[in-house]
């Protein structure tokens, strides 16, 4: 008998609710790294929701821009380390485009901390846990300042 029926549902603790963060992960390295963090049960805050992309080369800077303009609290992008991209130079183009986006967003009224990109290989589940935890902290501190 699976533990399907859980204890009576409590109203989610409002201030405890972790901020919702959209994370674009590349299929060959970072998504596998995130899966590995799962298989090794590395606990993480519950707000990060992953969108799979074939490579960070696919990352049109408009996606994080659209997410933030529509009100997302935070956006993360992660792919293979430069030099290890499965598609050779996808992440090398992405690095330039996302760095330009990162410099542009604050100018438009988005706190600098709301968007970040990083490189996580298929074996760096630990580092992914650290990135998610640290990023969620940063977004929480931003929301704290606001209200």
């Amino acid at each position: 008998m699976s533990r399907g029926n859980l204890e009576p549902e409590k109203e989610p603790v409002k201030n405890g609710t972790p901020p919702k963060i959209i994370a674009f992960l590349c299929n060959w390295c970072s998504y596998v790294g995130a899966d590995m963090a799962g298989t090794t049960r590395l606990k993480q805050p519950e707000g990060v929701e992953v969108i799979l992309v074939p490579c960070t080369g696919r990352m049109d800077p408009l996606f994080p821009m659209k997410a933030l303009v529509e009100g997302a609290e935070g956006v993360l992008v992660s792919g293979c380390h430069p030099g290890e991209c499965h598609h050779q130079d996808g992440n090398l183009y992405a690095r330039r485009r996302l760095e330009v986006l990162k410099g542009f967003l604050p100018f438009m009224g988005f706190e600098e901390e709301r968007f970040s990109y990083t490189w996580i290989s298929a074996s760096e589940g630990k580092k992914w846990q650290q990135v998610v935890t640290k990023f969620t902290e940063r977004i929480k501190s931003l929301n704290g300042k606001k209200d």
Binding site: P61, L62, M65, K66, V69, E70, P82, G83, D89, L92, Y93, R95, R96, R97, E99, V100, L101, G103, F104, P106, F107, M108, G109, F110, E111, S116, Y117, T118, W119, K127, Q130, V131, K134
Partner: protein, 345 residues
Amino acid sequence: MAGKPIEMRNKKTKEQLENLKTQVEETLSQVDFVIGYAKGYDVLHPTPLFVRSTKDAQALIWDDFCINNLATYLPSQKRPGGLFHPHEKIGLVVKGCDSRAVIQLLQEGIIDRENFKIIGISCQGKVDVKKLKNRVPIERVENAEIKEGSIELTVDSRGQKYPLEEVLYSKCLSCEYPTPLIYDRLVGGEGSLRSKGPKEFAQDPYHDVEEFEKKGVNERLDFWEQEFSRCLRCYACRDICPFCYCQFECIAQTRIPHWLSQKTASKENKFFHMFRAMHLAGRCTECGECERACPVDLPLLLLHKKMNKKVSELFGYKSGINPKLRPPLIIFQPEEKNIEEEKWE
């Protein structure tokens, strides 16, 4: 500003006009038509002129208001839906700032060098009609003349004077290329490559961007919220831009992909202008036409100057200067000098 140099300025402008007419006529033999400036509906608004014969050339003008960046007509030459036919040859009158747009279009390979002839013309700075509009009802202007370092407008038959540095385009006040960087022929100032352009009013080109960056993040958010609530989405800024040559296929109006709706809510307008700034990163040559074309006077050049500042900080790249360079966002370096990976400890 003693009287003498301004007479020099008007004298030079007149000389350039005569010289321009002969240069255009000579170019006519090599091209199908030449695009220059003609008198518009009033003295402040010259309009692009398509010269196909020496008779047309007589209507050419050259004065302190000829501001249009005529390079915006070059890409339409190649596009399937464009007005001109790909094999038609075009002549173009090009100022210093416009020449950067020509070079950037060459860098992007959207135009072929042998399909057009450039008539470069060195420039002494142009008067920003929007700066006049805030001072006097320009809809009833009758005459405008440069006298002793300032411009004199007659409106409702009354004269009003304004110092030049108050009314020149801000891009002219910080102009680094008064003489075109690319040309087949050069009008005015054959001799000195660096004619006495508006350098004397020199200002740091990015001072307005730095001012804006000093503001708090919420102040900046509200500013853009306020500005973009006025945008009509008429797309004049996009359609006048020399680099928005995917104008007829722009994702601002497509459903596949469906990035935004046609609603003129401030959020949708903001996303349109933001993604246009992203598309122009490392390409825009700051000619300021988008800001001039905007019917509701949005500070659009500020957006693109911020992007260019970021691109030059990251890649040391300045758009439209060196025809051999590839634009920064369609190339990469295995090791990026100015980009470090974020530390997560």
